[in-house]
């Protein structure tokens, strides 16, 4: 229960960010000719951003099933790497049926937060998924049923929530060593190429993220391999200790 609640709390910023993205999705789905219940059903069964936007674009045309399958695989292949990564950190009890059930919630953002855990517990993962899932479904429903009711200024501000969260995960890690800084610099460089070079702009955003991340992580893995498990354990223990000290400092300051 303690872990579930801790996960629940960690999911709040993700849920906030999802609200604005899924709201936009709901509006887009209606404009592509879906009913409100179809839009909500797509969000509740799929829980992904890029894939859903690409999907409703195809639904507007009849008979593109194979194209849909291929585009979904390329857009979503990044999830496979995330699942492997979290699988390595999963708690002993987080196996079998729990992986079949909870793997459903492996989104970019849930992965990002879960990857910060030393050992990912199933109750934490479920807690972490709860608010984002509600936010994703509710946002879609509001967008599909009510359209543009939120002022543009608020939508615009909410759009930065998810990115703010990503920054909060990556920046503290960058202080620890040049290898993570290199990973960030490389990923930024590749991602900018896909963003600004006209030929590369044709690549879907889901696929380009996968390519950028895989190449950047591979280069770093070759140049700066992380040491053995024991060393990692030590490092992790040290990190925990540092965090504890920090927490205590915060407490004393307050």
């Amino acid at each position: 229960m303690k872990n579930y609640l801790r996960g629940l709390k960690a999911g709040i910023p993700i849920g906030l960010g999802y609200l604005s993205v899924s709201f936009t999705f709901g509006i887009a789905a209606i404009s592509y000719g879906l009913n409100w219940w179809q839009a909500i059903l797509v969000s509740m069964t799929t829980v992904t951003s890029a894939g859903q936007f690409a999907g409703i674009g195809m639904m507007a045309h009849p008979g593109l099933y194979w194209q849909m399958l291929i585009s979904q695989i390329t857009i979503n292949i990044r999830y496979s790497f995330m699942s492997i990564s979290i699988g390595q950190k999963a708690d002993k009890k987080f196996k079998g049926i729990y992986r079949w059930l909870l793997g459903f919630f492996m989104t970019d953002e849930i992965f990002a937060v879960a990857s910060q855990e030393e050992s990912v517990k199933r109750s934490f993962f479920l807690g972490l998924s709860t608010i984002p899932y509600i936010g994703w479904s509710a946002g879609t429903a509001i967008g599909a049923l009510l359209g543009n009711i939120l002022p543009e200024k608020i939508m615009s501000a909410l759009a930065l929530a998810i990115y703010g969260m990503f920054i909060a995960i990556v920046v503290p890690e960058m202080k620890k060593g040049k290898s993570v800084i290199l990973a960030v610099a490389l990923a930024f460089g590749f991602s900018a190429m896909f963003y600004y070079i006209p030929v590369l702009q044709k690549v879907s955003s889901g696929l380009s993220i996968s390519i950028c991340a895989i190449v950047a992580a591979l280069i770093c893995a070759v140049l700066f391999p992380v040491s053995d498990e024991d060393d990692n354990g030590d490092k992790a223990a040290k990190k925990d200790k540092e965090n504890n000290i920090k927490d205590k400092e915060v407490l004393t300051n307050e």
């Binding site: 195809m58 009849p62 699942s83 196996k95 501000a157 930065l160 909060a168 930024f188 391999p225």
Partner: protein, 102 residues
């Protein structure tokens, strides 16, 4: 679009997304000992997050200026080890205030 067509599309969309997530999660149970793969998996989160954030975040809000202000606020707070929620909320507030002033 009739219901048959919608549900076929939904099956392809939701089914493929689910299987891509779950198959590697269920299939790879053992600890991976290969140093290169372990290192690769260590760097993957940071690489994925950066590729998703930059440069996309610059264009997420109504103007590049407000986005940059929001991103800078997020970086400063993150550098000070503030929690994810605090960083996310203040980044949003920074965007909101910037757009009010503009």
């Amino acid at each position: 679009m009739n219901n048959y067509q919608f549900f076929t599309y939904l099956l392809v969309l939701a089914g493929s997304t689910y299987l891509i997530r779950v198959i590697p999660f269920v299939a790879i149970k053992e600890k991976i000992n290969n140093k290169l793969i372990r290192s690769f998996l260590y760097y993957i989160p940071y690489a994925v997050l950066t590729a998703m954030t930059l440069p996309a975040a610059f264009y997420a809000t109504r103007s590049v200026v407000s986005a940059i202000v929001g991103i800078l606020v997020a970086i400063i707070l993150a550098y000070k080890n503030k929690s994810l929620t605090v960083v996310a909320i203040f980044a949003c507030l920074a965007v909101y205030i910037t757009e009010l002033i503009m």
